[in-house]
């Protein structure tokens, strides 16, 4: 079997990657396209004038910090799994999941802050877009948290270790992507609101 594998990866065999991991990347591409289209719609609409000006909620800074921190803890968890330090994997996963939920809560309070300054979902598109960005991102983040919980459970069943790391790797790719996506949205809003 060993020789077979060496051959399979030789010159004659077409390049290949873990199909599920690859499919996840393709899914990420579709999410990128959704947000690319929404942010460009924002720019197109903004250039037409009649645009409500308001300050972004301060809480976005905190949620950005939380999401960066959660990516770090997840990565720590991944590195531990590679070294088969299973307790560290569990700890890392738990902290990440909690931080993920904390991010969602802080996003909710950003909505509260928006409502406080009279920016509603229904009204000038400037505000509506903000709700759509954060809301749609939050929905994807919930799916990320569900993914985290699934991997967390399998890590408690000792099913996540250096020989069986694909699910954790996929989870991590997705989570890093969602974190990056939020940072992109936040930067975009800082530059264009």
């Amino acid at each position: 079997m060993e020789e077979k594998f060496a051959y399979v990866e030789g010159a004659e065999q077409p390049i290949s990657m873990h199909p599920k991991k690859f499919a996840l990347w393709l899914f990420i591409v579709t999410v990128v396209m959704i947000f690319a289209s929404l942010t460009s719609a924002y720019i197109v609409r903004q250039s037409e004038g009649n645009w409500l000006e308001f300050d972004l909620p301060q809480i976005f800074w905190y949620s950005s910090g939380i999401i960066i921190l959660s990516s770090l803890t997840l990565h720590w968890s991944y590195l531990s799994a590679k070294k088969d330090e299973l307790n560290a994997v569990k700890t890392g996963m738990i902290i990440t999941t909690i931080l993920g939920v904390a991010f969602l809560v802080s996003q909710w309070y950003s909505w509260v802050a928006l409502v406080d300054r009279d920016v509603y979902f229904v009204g000038n598109p400037a505000g509506s877009f903000l709700y759509v960005f954060t809301g749609l991102h939050a929905i994807h983040l919930i799916s990320g948290v569900i993914f985290l919980i699934i991997v967390l459970i399998s890590s408690f069943n000792y099913k996540v270790h250096s020989k069986n790391i694909v699910s954790l790797e996929m989870c991590m790719n997705y989570w890093h992507f969602l974190g990056g996506l939020w940072l992109y949205l936040f930067m975009f809003l800082l530059l264009n609101h």
Binding site: M1, E3, K4, Y7, E12, Q13, P14, I15, S16, M17, P19, K20, F22, A23, L26, F27, V29, T30, V31, M33, I34, S37, L38, A41, V44, R45, E48, N50, W51, L52, F121, V122, G123, N124, P125, A126, S128, F129, V132, L136
Partner: protein, 629 residues
């Protein structure tokens, strides 16, 4: 069969394919994860929708061609949509046009074409046991099915289905007061399309993953049949454009149901101002056409790929310009994303932007012309075998030329002022996109029917079907060019109310009659299709003497496609009529070392490398066997 299955199990053991072979009716025909069955499900569902979509067009053609006709006899079907005087309700006319477009573009030519042949052919032609994820594939079909059920229900509700045109522009589609179809019908349209988008994305992710990761040994990208290239690029286009339609639809849902103003601004209804301010209707058009234009190529590219394959096979010649074909498809795929605004030349867009989009649009003529040239040069002096599949492929080339030429006019932002939204546009896209893709679909069905069902379709009925359809399509769409140049707008209910269109009444009668004959001719195909499925002549293993991998499977391939090892690939798929070769085709599975008489100088050099690999492989097989024993 049992030995074949056990051999299959041995062979797939290291591929992590541990299928349980306990096929009952439900796992085999309904919730199947076998790509071949899913392909057939897409095909049959596509045919069902094609009949509905076609029938809708016949109803509105009756109205356009015979405006004084008594339509009482349609009452059992249309009920209240036929008024007391036996006339078609104008609101329902709009619904018919909208539904015809939606059904044909999405359900027939996207799901029915790409869904059928990508699913069916990708694993068979690249040498894979199945798609990357059989479950996702099954989900893709069933989401499409659900989407279809919802759209079907919307046809029968009291206020009628969505009626704002298949592009569902706001504010018409965003305001319930705008027209009856903008109520529940529009809501169901949006729900249905959401399912459809999810289905397309799941399918597309699967196709791309499979093509990139699951090719058999030796199947490099430069040895892929052009069909696979076409399906692959189609899936990439879909993956990039359908999410944008999702965004557009999402914002439209918010405008419709939550009261936001993404697309709505300063609208007065019955003298009352609506509360919405600050929206932009052009924004919707940008988002929609960012999908809408690539969608044209999602529809067309698979048909072009199928045609390349069939024309090469039935001309007994290598495809002319294999690399040029790939590069032009890539060019079309890339350009399809930067031309969307040519649909919006008269929407109040900045005219300077219009000239940029005009320039980019006209560039598409280059890769398209390359493709046409290559089809013609492949046909040139070939040993043409006119099977029905071949005839439909040649028909596609004809439509692609005649419909493509009018695209050059429409792509000009100045000429478009006159021609925009007239029957000229209708004629253009029905030829180049509708009929061409439909002919690609038909060609594919005739060509791969023996592989799908193990039987041959009747060729004579195929010829009758072809000639009636081919002539019929030109009879229907060619006169529309004149009506369009005269300036008659599309989607209008009546021709007789205006002096300048009055004189076209008989031309319209002609078009309608031709449409009815063409539609009726499809019954020949339906009969042929379903009759041959059960009673057709038994197909040989390789009926068209073709080179590609799917013809190396058994006549009725099981789940897993090849009993035993998946064959390796040693050459490109177009070794037809190679000088020196004994037969006029050499399958991809024949090593170059086995055909010294026909090898070209550079291939002779590859033989050495190939021999080394084969020796290595045999040594390994021996090693494997000793291990397992």
């Amino acid at each position: 069969m049992a030995t074949a299955e056990s051999a299959l199990h041995n062979a797939t053991a290291h591929d992590h394919h541990d299928h349980e072979h306990h096929d009952n009716f439900i796992t085999k025909y309904i919730f199947s994860t076998d790509h071949k069955m899913i392909g057939k499900q897409f095909l049959v569902t596509g045919i069902f929708w094609a009949i509905i979509g076609g029938a809708l067009s016949i109803i509105f053609r009756l109205q356009l061609g015979f405006p004084d006709m008594e339509l009482h006899w349609l009452k059992p079907l249309l009920g209240g949509w036929i008024d007391e005087g036996g006339k078609l309700d104008p609101n329902f006319y709009l619904a018919l046009v909208t539904m015809h477009g939606t059904i044909m573009v999405f359900f027939v030519l996207t799901a029915g074409l790409s869904g059928t042949f990508s699913n069916y052919l990708i694993p068979l032609q690249i040498g894979a046991r199945d798609m990357a994820s059989g479950f996702m594939n099954m989900l893709s079909y069933w989401l499409f099915f659900v989407s279809g059920v919802i759209m079907f229900i919307s046809l029968f509700i009291e206020t009628g289905p969505a009626s704002g045109g298949w592009v569902v522009y706001p504010p018409l589609s965003a305001l319930e007061q705008a027209m009856p179809g903008s109520g529940l019908g529009m809501t169901l349209w949006l729900i249905s399309m959401t399912f459809f988008i999810a289905s397309s994305l799941l399918g597309g992710i699967n196709y791309i993953t499979t093509v990139i990761n699951l090719r058999t040994k030796g199947m490099s990208f430069s040895r892929l049949p052009l069909t696979i290239w076409a399906f692959f690029l189609t899936a990439v286009i879909g993956l990039l454009s359908f999410p944008v339609l999702f965004s557009a639809a999402l914002l439209l849902v918010f405008d419709r149901s939550f009261g936001t103003s993404f697309y709505l601004s300063d609208i007065y209804i019955g003298g009352e101002a609506l509360p919405n301010t600050g929206g932009s209707a052009v924004l919707y058009q940008h988002l929609f056409w960012f999908l809408g234009h690539p969608e044209v190529y999602i529809v067309l590219l698979p048909a072009l790929g199928i045609t390349s394959e069939i024309i090469a096979t039935q001309s007994r010649k290598p495809i002319f310009g294999y690399k040029a074909m790939i590069i032009s498809m890539l060019g079309i795929a890339i350009l399809s994303f930067v031309v969307w605004a040519h649909h919006m030349f008269v929407s109040g867009m900045n005219p300077f932007l219009g000239s940029i989009f005009m320039f980019l649009t006209l560039i598409i003529a280059i890769p398209s012309a390359v493709k046409v040239f290559n089809y013609l040069t492949t046909l040139w002096r070939g040993n043409l075998i006119f099977t029905p599949g071949m005839l439909f492929s040649i028909g596609l080339v004809s439509f692609f030329i005649s419909g493509g030429l009018t695209g050059i006019f429409l792509g000009n932002s100045a000429i478009d002022i006159q021609l925009h939204d007239t029957y000229f546009v209708v004629a253009h896209f029905h030829l180049v996109m509708g009929s061409a893709s439909f002919f690609g679909l038909m060609a594919g069905v005739y060509h791969w029917f023996p592989k799908m069902f193990g039987r041959m379709m009747d060729a004579r009925l195929g010829y009758i079907h072809f000639w009636l359809t081919f002539i019929g399509v030109y009879m229907v769409f060619f006169p529309m060019h004149y009506i369009g140049i005269a300036g008659f707008p599309r989607r209008y209910y009546s021709w007789t109310n205006f002096e300048f269109t009055n004189m076209y009444t008989d031309l319209n009668m002609f078009v309608s009659a031709a449409a009815i004959i063409t539609f009726a001719a499809q019954a020949i195909f339906l009969f042929n299709f379903f009759y041959s499925m059960y009673r057709g002549r038994k197909a040989p293993m390789n009926p068209w003497r073709s080179t590609t991998l799917e013809w190396t499977t058994p006549v009725n391939p099981g789940h897993g496609n090849w009993p035993g090892e998946i064959p390796a690939v040693y050459r490109w798929p177009y070794d037809y009529s190679k000088p020196g070769a004994a037969e006029d085709f050499i399958p991809q599975t024949v090593p170059l070392s086995a055909t010294p008489e026909s090898n070209l100088p550079h291939e002779q050099e590859l033989v050495k490398l190939e021999k080394e690999i084969i020796a290595e492989e045999e040594a390994m097989l021996v090693a494997d066997e000793t291990k397992t024993v």
